[in-house]
């Protein structure tokens, strides 16, 4: 199955409806479409914004590799991954992953796989700007994210 793969790293917001459309329009083979949207939380009102730094070039490369691995592992018809950089406000979108397949299980698993590996492999870093005017710490990586990715290696 030849999957339609799109990866984008961009400052501006994405349009989920348009991305869904571009994976489904004019075709009758998509039975299941799963989207994941990651949003910026306000941390109980203490967060002013997240600043997302990335490694241009490598970010695209890594996410593309992850999407291609997903397409090799599951019968995907399409995979889209869009990650924003720069300042993101609470309630705004950070990342979008879409997987399409004839079958629902494949679409669910592939979308979750792409997100798990994107978190541990794509070179992005978040810094917190606090409501009180202070520039907070760099967000620390979570062990849970590593183990989320590792479970795909046992499976």
């Amino acid at each position: 199955m030849d999957a339609q793969i799109k990866v984008a790293i961009q400052n501006e917001d994405f349009d989920v409806a348009r991305e869904i459309e571009s994976l489904t329009r004019g075709r009758g083979d998509v039975g299941a479409l799963v989207t994941f949207t990651g949003l910026c939380r306000d941390e109980a009102g203490t967060l002013e914004a997240l600043e997302l730094e990335h490694y241009p070039g490598m970010a695209e490369d890594e996410i593309l590799r992850v999407a291609q691995q997903a397409a090799a592992r599951w019968p995907l018809l399409g995979a889209t991954a869009i990650h924003r950089y720069g300042k993101v406000l609470p309630g705004e979108n950070i990342v979008l992953v879409i997987a399409t397949s004839p079958h629902r299980r494949a679409a669910f698993e592939a979308a979750e796989y792409i997100m798990d590996y994107l978190k541990t492999r794509a070179p992005f870093w978040k810094k917190e700007h606090r409501r009180d005017g202070s520039v907070g710490e760099w967000v620390e990586a979570k062990d849970a994210d590593d183990s989320a990715a590792e479970r795909w290696e046992q499976a």
């Binding site: 730094e53 970010a59 990650h83 978190k119 070179p123 870093w125 760099w138 620390e140 994210d145």
Partner: protein
């Protein structure tokens, strides 16, 4: 060895105080771990950035590598903290 383009991201960049530079390490610096040690001796800002070397991630020519990866032939080497995207 020849000149290497080095790139730093997130708090590695902040601690070193610049986004990158071009340096020529001595010939006995063979892998990422040795490059980190050599950089750490260049000044306080490097020592601070690499003080906990085992958490530092590295990429050679935009591919993740471990600290024992040889740097021969590398054009660009990047150092950064564990990633927190997504």
């Amino acid at each position: 060895m020849s000149a290497l383009k080095l790139s730093y991201f997130a708090w590695v960049r902040e601690r070193i105080g610049r986004p990158g530079e071009t340096l020529t390490p001595p010939d006995d610096v063979k892998n990422i771990g040795e490059l980190i040690e050599w950089l750490s001796r260049r000044g306080e800002e490097y020592a601070y950035a690499f003080e906990n070397a085992k958490v530092i991630r590295a990429a050679i020519d935009r591919q993740h590598v471990k600290h024992d990866a040889p740097i021969a032939g590398a054009r660009e080497i990047a150092f950064f903290p564990p990633m927190t995207g997504g």
